[in-house]
């Protein structure tokens, strides 16, 4: 699971971006802040592998913040100022990616995955970058989520539509209540959750299940 922090003073865009990235099965937005200094503070309390940073923000330039953050996070610049000059500045500051705000979600998602796994996109030519991004177009699920069995996914789908009582689950799946409990324990462990509601939410997020 890739933890992502967003720093953008435009609320509507930050919210939209947060919602979009959160919808990815392999990424989770752990914080949305409105300035460079806030980003620095937020990262102290909540680590994030990747940060999406705007350039023009109150309280200072986003690129300066990236340079101050160093290795604490891998930064991707997403800005309205997508000029070559700014790209060069961002590269100097240590940013790993650089996109205009017109960037489509699948491109940004691939970029987040690529940067999180250590790739540097900012120095690449457009066609080279597209090749790299193509490698990361699919969600890379956690080992836990990836190891879910078909029966466990079936239980998660039922949880997501509100079937949560043990007896009901047992009746639907024609299995014993004991077996249901065993499956649930396995699911909780694999998804690192502690109850059925959290498991349902996680299942929806991972794209395994759909809400009603």
């Amino acid at each position: 699971m890739i933890r992502v922090m967003i720093a953008d003073d435009h609320k509507l865009f930050a919210e939209g971006l947060s919602r979009a990235l959160d919808s990815l099965p392999d990424a989770r937005v752990v914080g949305v802040v409105e300035s460079g200094p806030e980003l620095s503070t937020a990262l102290s309390g909540q680590p994030a592998e990747v940060s999406i940073v705007d350039i023009e923000m109150p309280g200072g330039d986003g690129i300066d913040t990236i340079s101050e953050l160093g290795n604490r996070t891998k930064a991707i610049v997403v800005s309205m100022h997508a000029s070559d000059d700014q790209r060069a500045r961002a590269a100097d500051a240590g940013a790993k990616g650089f996109f205009s705000k017109a960037v489509p979600l699948d491109t940004l998602a691939a970029a987040v995955r690529a940067v999180a796994s250590g790739r540097d996109l900012i120095q690449l030519q457009d066609h080279e970058r597209d090749e790299v991004l193509a490698e990361y177009s699919e969600a890379q699920l956690d080992p836990g989520a990836a190891s879910l069995t078909e029966r466990e996914k079936e239980i998660l789908r039922l949880l997501a539509v509100g079937v949560s009582a043990t007896d009901e689950l047992a009746d639907r799946l024609y299995i014993s209540q004991k077996t249901v409990k065993n499956h649930l324990a396995s699911i909780f462990q694999k998804l690192a959750v502690s109850d059925r509601t959290q498991a349902a939410i996680e299942a929806i997020r991972l794209g395994i299940a759909k809400p009603t």
Binding site: D8, F13, R19, A82, S100, K101, A102, D106
Partner: protein, 499 residues
Amino acid sequence: MTAPASWEQRVHRSVVIGQFVALTVAIISDLVTNGPSEESLVAAAIGSVYAIGSAALPEAWYRRRLGVESITLAGAFLTIIAITLTGGASSPYLLLSMGPPIFATVYGGLRVGLTTGLLSAGLLALVTLSSDEPILDAVPAMALYLVFILLVGVIRKLLEDIHQQNVNLVAEKETATQRLEALEEIHAVLLKLSEDVSAGRLNAVEVGAETLDTILTRIPGAAGKLAIRGDEGLVMLAARGVPDPEGETYQIPITTADSNVGMMELVTPDPLPDSDRKEVEDYLQPLGIAFANLQLLQDIAGSAVAEERLRLAREMHDEIGPSLASLGLSLDLTAMQQADNPELTADLKVLRSNVTKLVEDVRAKVADLRTAPGPTFTARLLQSTSGMEGEPPIVIDLDERRPPRSAFIGDLTSVVTEAVRNSHQHSHASKVLVSGRIQRDWGTVQVVDDGVGFDPTIVPHGHFGLLGMRERAEKIGATIDFNSKSGVGTVVTLEWGNR
């Protein structure tokens, strides 16, 4: 030749009348004293001949040096004969003999007057001596000659001075009137400028061209250029006429009380008299004020526009752009979640691509708004055609209210410059005129020459630029039209946008 002074005519009439009175008195007094003798009659006849003759001769004769000398010399002899015949120093004709010296003084001045007077006095002395009378008897008469001459001489001098002063006054009045007329004309120009300012029509190129035209019509054969001082040195506004290579070149600064706002270069066939130069400076003075005001206006308008551009850029960058980008992400998200509904996904993808275009458009506009506007089309054209010297002259007369967009202005300048170059090099015209109106997104520019012309369907030698001009015009969405007739001339018209 100066017109006869009225005082000369008046004195002439007075002397003529005086002579007739003196003659009448002399004849009567002689007849009463000596009775009708042969001598008396002859003296009366001679006196009459002189009096009538001097009155009858045209005044113009007196005004000639030889004329006045002959008349007064003859007069002096005639009157002396009359005096000799009627008693010498005590003759009643003595008064009449004052006539010739007075005429001589009036018309010839003191020197001629004295000569005639001394001649009369000398003759009188001779007559007195020859008649064995004591010379002392003649002295009062001789003194009288001198007194009369001096009196008339002094009066003449006074009158002449007055006359001269009058002439000077008239000349001064004429100069003052001319100056006043010139000032009135300048005032009219100033008034028009002020009207233009209030109507928002003030345009440096227009005002400069108008002033240059006005100045050049007053100096035949002159050519001139007019430039305004901009942020990056002098910017040429207008050029008129073909400079005479052997003419005199004047560089006249255009100034206001505290700054130098431009320069005019004037080439005249002959050296310019100080008065004309002063006049040109007078003409340039309102222009200086206009330019200074214009610069001020432009500064104010410029900073207002710059502020507005920045505000717009900020708004687009801060609000519109990110909101659109956010909309795009939402569309992506929906498409992802509805992956099993291909119809909806296809619609969403079209929508998404439109949103992406919009965001990119906003980004480009923001970049455009954040760059300061460059020089006007007129300034660029003046610059690009400045190297084309010699015949035919290039006259640029454009009404550029707002410069074309920066994405457009470069190609526009290239196309028009090419048209001007073709006319300048190949047309053998008497002049090449660039005219038109430009209002940012629409405009029309014509390049006209009265040269040899060509057939636009057959690309003649040296006109290889036509295709390139057409392509360039198409690129910027303008239409270009070549209208040319052999021997009549060529009109190239470039148009863009809708008015």
